[in-house]
Structures are given as C-alpha cells and as structure tokens.
C-alpha cells in the first residue's frame, strides 16, 4: 500500500463548498515514514527558523509531529487563502498561540489551532468564531492504578466533573471520561489563546452523554461556546471548541480584526454543525 494514498476527491470538494476557510484536517503520522531527504523536503517549505526548532526535538516521533503541525498551518493558509508558502507570516503571541499576521482584511477573525498526540496531528480553522482543537491519546498508566494517575490532575477538574468520572463503570471508562474532560478544557484554553496558567478548574463542562456540551466559566454558564467530541479511533479522541472572539485573551485578541461581532452573524457561524475531519496525506499538504 502506497504511503501516498490519495484522498477521495469528493470529501475535499464538499469541504471547500460548504466551509470557505473553515477546515478540519487530520494527518495520520503513523502512515508517514519519510527518508531524511523526504523529511527535509517537507521542512524546506517552512521558513528557516522552524527547521531549527523542529530539529531540537529529541525524539524522532516528536520531530515528525512538530514538522507536521507546522506544515498543516502553512498548507491550510496556502490552500484556503491562496498565499504562496514563502509569503505566509505565521507568528506567535507571547503565550505561544500561532496566528496569521498577513491575512486579507476581509477575513475578519480567521484563526486556526493545531494539536498533536499519538498518531495524529490535526488542524481546525474558522472565519469568525474562535476555534480550539485538542487531540488526546488514551494511554493506560503503567505501574500505577488509574486512580493514582488521576490524582495528579485533581485540581484541574471540578468536583462535579470528578463525580461524573467516579460514576464510570470500570477504570478504562473512568480514564476515557477523564480524557474527554481534559480534551475539552484544552480545546477551550487553546481557542482563547491562553496557556496552562488559565486555570483549567475555572471551567466546568456539562453534557448529556457527551452531546449538548456546555461550559460554565467561573461558575457562569456561557451561551457563546459550542463543543464537539470526536472518536478518531480506539485510542484517540479529539475535541473542537468554538466561541465568541470577545473571550480571546488580550495578547491574542489584538491579532483579530473583528472582535465586536453582530449577534445574528455570530450565532449563525457558531451553530454550523460539526462535520468529521478530512484525512490529509503529506503529499497533499506539500502540493504547491
């Protein structure tokens, strides 16, 4: 089987017609085994400073993921906005959130978020709403019980959330429940451009069997955020968070051009239903 398996064209055309600049892309890292030359060829599409940053990762799998998450950003901007690779300016805020510095003015709050863990690297982009993506690999803790592992994170989830986790039947289900909450919190924090210091315990997620997911921020329910959980495969989950640009933290908010959004327009964008991710091959990402 060729590692450069072509994506069915239908999916991609559907995505372009319905989404404009909205995308949900995934790369299966396990299916890309580049030779050093192939790796360098992909890296060569990025500005030089990225190559140094990628090379600093100690483990090969981390280097692959680092390259692919950057490539996803440049490739997405190239594909949806038509900007040549070498003219794309993606910078980072002081908290480390990547953003497009030279997007066309008409593209309002165009923003994107990448995530990687385990076998997947993904990216999500939106035109008007903030978007955050988090991918988790559900890994069973070795040498300690699930409860011992979960205790590390006791201050990051709320009492209500821990109660829900506690009601799970068995340690595997408890672990999955934990990862779902963690994944959602991370997606939110990344969408607003904050780092770890945001205070994950400030967020409390409510749901009905993991649909109709809502968030309470500092005890108050927010009507301006929507969440969706995806099962990528037996071991990987992904979450998408979408919300109002006014909730962006200051350093990220200054990169957006349209923080004051007309209510109807915002809710129309917010309520667009989530679709499944589109699998991209590295060959597709590196098409000029």
């Amino acid at each position: 089987i060729s590692p450069w398996e072509k994506l069915p064209e239908r999916n991609e055309m559907e995505e372009e017609h319905s989404g404009g600049v909205r995308r949900r892309w995934l790369v299966d890292v396990a299916r890309w085994s580049p030779s050093p030359t192939q790796f360098q060829a992909a890296a060569a599409l990025l500005p030089p400073h990225h190559r140094h940053a990628i090379a600093r990762f100690v483990k090969e799998e981390d280097r692959k993921r680092a390259l692919l998450s950057r490539l996803l950003q440049y490739s997405l901007v190239h594909r949806v906005l038509g900007i040549p690779f070498h003219q794309i300016h993606i910078y980072r805020t002081t908290e480390g959130k990547p953003y497009l510095e030279n997007g066309p003015p008409a593209f309002k709050n165009f923003n994107f978020n990448t995530s990687h863990q385990g076998d997947y690297v993904g990216i999500a982009s939106e035109l008007l709403c903030l978007v955050g993506l988090d991918i988790v690999c559900i890994s069973k803790p070795q040498g300690e019980t699930t409860v011992e592992f979960l205790k590390n994170f006791s201050s990051y989830l709320t009492g209500h959330e821990w109660n829900c986790i506690g009601r799970a039947a068995g340690s595997i289900e408890m672990l999955t429940e934990f990862y779902r909450y963690w994944c959602l919190k991370e997606a939110f924090v990344k969408a607003v451009g904050a780092g770890v210091g945001f205070g994950l315990h400030r967020l409390e997620f409510h749901h009905v069997e993991w649909s109709n997911i809502s968030v309470y921020i500092d005890g108050i329910e927010s009507r301006k955020w929507r969440f969706c959980l995806f099962k990528l495969d037996e071991m990987h989950l992904a979450s998408i968070a979408k919300g109002h640009p006014e909730d962006a933290i200051h350093s990220f908010k200054t990169t957006l051009s349209n923080v004051v959004v007309e209510e109807e327009e915002f809710y129309a964008a917010l309520e667009i239903p989530e679709e499944t991710f589109t699998l991209q091959t590295v060959e597709q990402l590196t098409q000029l």
């Binding site: 483990k59 069973k140 040498g143 300690e144 994170f153 770890v196």
Partner: protein, 150 residues
C-alpha cells in the same frame, strides 16, 4: 481497548514516589536540625532530602547558593528524565526545554506534581505555565523554598 499506548515512565514514577514517601520521616528530622542554620545562605532543599550530606553543606556555605542551584537542577533533570522516558545517553541539562524532550500538557502536570513532592512545595497554575525549561523549574523551586523557610 486491546493495545494501550504504554507510558513506560509511569512505573518508574510510582516506585520513585514510594521511595519519596519513605523519606518523609527523615525529612522531618533533618528540617528540625537545620533551623539553627537559617541565618546562613544554605540550601534547605538539599539538607532535607540528603541528611547524610549535612556536614558537607556546612563546609561549603560560602558557595552554598551556586551549589544549591546545581543540585536542584540535577534533581529536576532526574524527575523530568523519568517522566518523559528520555533515552539513555540523551543529555538533559538546565537549558533543556520540556517540550523538546517530548512533554505534552499531561506530562507537564505530572512533572510539576513530582517537583511538588520532591521539594515539598506548592506550585500554583500561573507559575506552572512559566516553566519551560529545567532551569525555570529549578529557579521557581528555589524561590518557593526560600519563601517557605523565610
């Protein structure tokens, strides 16, 4: 759930925490005896966790601060290496960035927990977010330990 991705480092963490637990009694004893040295610039960190090196620390009080930093850094390196299952032969130094060693957000939480246990400190989430390198962690530890004993 046939094949979980295995985090091999967790077994080391568990054993190591059990080891730390057994040190708790020794910590209490050595921290009482270190009270009389409060006026000197000493590393209470090293005294608490290594009672046998107490005499060495007294002799080296002039360079206590520089020495303490290295010892703190070494301990942080050990914790980080175990949590991230860093391959043998890969250098981990004060300048090493957690992310470059392969830490994700979950690893960072566990590393901070490990540091809290090892140094008997509490790290709030805002401070935790500023820890990007081993040196950052060591500096924060020194600060929190100093504040604690002040």
């Amino acid at each position: 759930f046939g094949n979980f991705a295995k985090r091999v480092s967790r077994s080391s963490i568990m054993l190591w925490r059990q080891f730390l637990g057994s040190l708790q009694v020794a910590n209490v004893i050595s921290s009482r005896s270190s009270v009389s040295f409060r006026s000197q610039k000493m590393s209470f960190v090293s005294i608490r966790s290594r009672p046998s090196s107490l005499r060495f620390k007294i002799c080296c009080s002039a360079t206590g601060e520089a020495q303490a930093k290295k010892e703190t850094v070494d301990k942080v390196c050990m914790i980080v290496k175990k949590q991230l299952a860093v391959p043998d032969g890969t250098p981990v130094t004060a300048e090493s960035k957690f992310s470059e060693l392969g830490a994700d957000s979950l690893d960072t939480v566990e590393i901070v927990m490990g540091l809290e246990e090892e140094f008997n400190i509490t790290v709030d989430e805002t401070s935790a977010q500023d820890i990007a390198t081993v040196q950052d962690a060591a500096d924060l530890i020194e600060k929190l330990v100093t504040e604690k004993t002040a």
